[in-house]
Each structure stands twice: as structure tokens, then as C-alpha cells.
């Protein structure tokens, strides 16, 4: 299943917008589908958005499950960096 974040939300700035993305992706994962999530057009993504979307998925479903079910594409270097940092922080917190 291909999803574009900017078709799910108007902007990628807030935790509320991240929660919308979380709900959409979570629903497809629950159906056993693999999701390719495109960040095309979203050049600048703060931590609140990532924490409320992707990190929440990782915390609820586990890192391995999300990695198997979700690919994230068309990311700017900043989006990639933010995803990496927030997921790393979550992994550290979960391991503690």
C-alpha cells in the first residue's frame, strides 16, 4: 500500500498531524499490509510530528514489526535525520 503523508495531512508540523499519520499506517499494519510511506513535499519535519507518528508505532508494535511493515521514501536529508534521531531515542528509552 502506497501512502503519501501530505495526502493524509496538510502539513507535517505538529503532534496532532503526526497522530493522523499514525492512525492511517496503524490501520494498514493491523490488516497485515506492507506500507510505503512517501514524505514527498514535506521538507521540514519537527520531532513532535515524528514522535506522534512513527515513534508511537515503534513503541506500540515493536521495532522489528514496524521495520518489516513500513518503508519510508522520498525523504529530504533533514527528514531522514529526524526519523533516525527520534527512533534511536525511542529505542534507547525502550531498552532502559
Amino acid at each position: 500500500m502506497d501512502l503519501k503523508v501530505l495526502e493524509l495531512v496538510q502539513d507535517c508540523n505538529t503532534a496532532a498531524e503526526g497522530a493522523v499519520v499514525y492512525e492511517a499506517v496503524r490501520a494498514y499494519i493491523a490488516k497485515g499490509q506492507h506500507i510505503t510511506l512517501s514524505f514527498s513535499g514535506a521538507d521540514s519535519v519537527p520531532s513532535s510530528f515524528v514522535n506522534a507518528s512513527i515513534v508511537r508505532l515503534v513503541e506500540e508494535l515493536g521495532f522489528d514489526q514496524v521495520r518489516k511493515s513500513l518503508a519510508m521514501v522520498n525523504c529530504t536529508p533533514q527528514v531522514t535525520d529526524m526519523l533516525r534521531r527520534c527512533i534511536r531515542n525511542a529505542a534507547t528509552s525502550m531498552a532502559a
Binding site: 502539513d11 508540523n13 505538529t14 503532534a15 503526526g18 497522530a19 514527498s40 521538507d43 521540514s44 519535519v45 519537527p46 520531532s47 513532535s48 514522535n51 506522534a52 515513534v55 508511537r56 521495520r67 518503508a71 519510508m72 521514501v73 522520498n74 525523504c75 529530504t76 536529508p77 533533514q78 527528514v79 531522514t80 529526524m82 526519523l83 533516525r84 534521531r85 527520534c86 531515542n89 525511542a90 534507547t92 528509552s93
Partner: protein, 297 residues
């Protein structure tokens, strides 16, 4: 009971604490129910001073204190600057001069809610910054993200959910300052609620550690302040944070990582002020590209 506060002659970053000490008691309360600000000595004010002043006025208003101004009708440089930035229009209802208008070197202070801040960033601040720095808007994503982290912090931690932004270019200093302030509970108070008692300066230093989170909202996992500092440092810029009695300065190391300098301030800032200082000659910028696939580790 009224109390007269004389504005500093040179209202810049260095005057923050003397000014707030005159307005805010050590207990964090307004110095009086009515505060009269005397502009007589004011000969210079920059964007940081203006943002501090406006934030403090709103902080007073939020605590039901009233304020007024005296001796502001001179034609001094500072009064003219304030008028051009819209200060008197905002607080007196009309500008002092019919010729008052924003200068090319500033995006005047604006009272914003976080949701408006995102729009302001994309549609007003980013094109202005790109023009001053002579880069594409796409090269500013990490700076935009830094400001978004602050707006989200205001949304998460400030009951009033209102802040001030001001952008100022200082061509002779080859410097741009993006100043954002709110009059919320302050970073140290939020950190102490989660991590226990500590000084304001230690709390601010802790707040910029990677992975530190107050979990102040269900979706808050922290990281925002550290990301702000890292991104600004990567662009060879500096950050100054004033919050309650603590202050933190960062300077970029040679490799673009931040060096931290925290200290206890000489007063209590009413809320939080973040000054992002970019050096136009050293600005790095972000690669303008899209299309990476995220690699799970």
C-alpha cells in the same frame, strides 16, 4: 500601586536581566499592579530587546497587571525603530509617525500562536531569510525545523500558547537574529516536574541533552531543544536560551557540534526566550534534494 520602570539606555541582550529584575520580583511576580515604563533613557534597542519588552508586557497583562508608557515622544533612534516595528501601533493603537513602516532589515515582532508560526515560517520568514542569506529556500529546512521545535515547545508547555517572533538582520555585524519568546511556565519548571529539584541553569543544561523528555504531553518524547541546538550549530550559528533564572549559550565548534555554556542568570526571565544567531558569512545551509529512502538500522 504603580511603579515606574526606566527602560535601559541600551536595550539589548546584555540588558535582559537588569530589565526583568525591575519588573519581575525574585518570587516571579509583577513588581506592582500598575507598571509605568519610562522611555527617557532609551537610546538603542535591538530585536532581542524588543522581543523581551513585548513578552514582558504580555506577561504582565496575563497576570492582570496594567502598564503604560511615558516620555516616548522624542525622535531618538530607538523610538523610531520601535515605531517602524509596529510597537506603538500594537500598544497605543496607532504609530507615532505616519511614516512608520517596516525596515528592509527586519521582519518586525509578531504575536503568534504556534499554529500561525508554522505558516509564518514557510510564507514570510523563509523567503526573507533566503533573500538575506542568498540561498534557496530549500537550504533553510534545518533552520525552519529549529523554529518549529520552539513553536511546538510553546504549544506543549505554555498555558497561554502565545509567543513573539522577531527577525532582524544586522548587516554590519553580518548577523541575523531570530528571536522567539513566550511567557509560559519556563523550561526549568517543566524539567523539575519530571527530574526533581535542581537549579534553573542545571535544568536548562539538562533539557538540551539528547533523549531528555518531560513527557509533558502524551506525544512529547523530548529531543526538540537538542535538535534545535544541533541544527543551528551545524549552520555555524549560536543559540541563547533564557528561561526563568537560567541561561544557556551555545557556540559552534569547528566540526559544527555545539559547545555549551550554562549559568545562573541575574534575574528571573518571565517565560522563555530563544535567540538563534546566524552568521551570514559562515552560513552552511542544507543540501536541496529529496528522494532518500530511510534505511532502518
Amino acid at each position: 500601586m504603580s511603579h515606574i520602570v526606566t527602560l535601559p539606555g541600551n536595550f539589548t541582550e546584555a540588558a535582559i536581566y537588569p530589565f526583568v529584575r525591575a519588573v519581575v520580583t525574585p518570587e516571579g511576580m509583577p513588581v506592582a499592579g500598575e507598571v509605568i515604563f519610562d522611555f527617557q533613557r532609551l537610546s538603542w534597542i535591538d530585536g532581542t530587546g524588543l522581543t523581551v519588552f513585548c513578552n514582558t508586557l504580555e506577561w504582565l497583562r496575563a497576570r492582570s497587571a496594567v502598564f503604560s508608557f511615558i516620555n516616548y515622544t522624542g525622535h531618538k533612534q530607538a523610538i523610531s525603530y520601535l515605531d517602524d516595528c509596529g510597537f506603538f501601533k500594537e500598544y497605543l493603537g496607532e504609530p507615532l509617525s505616519s511614516k512608520a513602516s517596516p525596515r528592509r532589515t527586519s521582519l518586525p515582532f509578531k504575536r503568534i500562536q504556534p499554529s500561525e508560526g508554522f505558516w509564518w515560517l514557510d510564507n514570510t520568514a523563509a523567503p526573507w531569510l533566503a533573500d538575506v542569506l542568498r540561498v534557496q529556500v530549500g537550504a533553510l529546512v534545518s533552520i525552519k525545523t529549529s523554529a518549529k521545535e520552539i513553536f511546538n515547545n510553546i504549544a506543549d508547555h505554555s498555558a497561554e500558547q502565545i509567543g513573539f517572533v522577531h527577525l532582524q538582520h544586522y548587516p554590519r555585524r553580518e548577523e541575523i537574529r531570530l528571536t522567539i519568546s513566550d511567557f509560559g511556565t519556563g523550561i526549568p519548571a517543566t524539567i523539575r516536574r519530571r527530574y526533581g529539584d535542581m537549579s534553573d541553569s542545571k535544568a536548562i543544561r539538562l533539557a538540551v541533552e539528547e533523549g531528555i523528555t518531560t513527557r509533558s504531553t502524551p506525544n512529547n518524547r523530548g529531543a526538540g531543544l537538542r535538535i534545535l541546538v544541533d541544527y543551528v550549530s551545524h549552520n555555524k550559528g549560536s543559540v541563547a536560551i533564557y528561561s526563568l533564572g537560567g541561561m544557556l549559550l551555545t557556540e559552534p565548534n569547528e566540526d559544527g557540534t555545539p559547545a555549551f555554556f550554562s549559568s545562573q542568570g541575574a534575574g528571573t526571565y518571565p517565560g522563555t526566550l530563544v535567540d538563534i544567531i546566524l552568521r551570514t558569512a559562515d552560513f552552511v545551509g542544507d543540501p536541496v534534494e529529496e528522494g532518500e529512502d530511510f534505511q532502518w538500522i
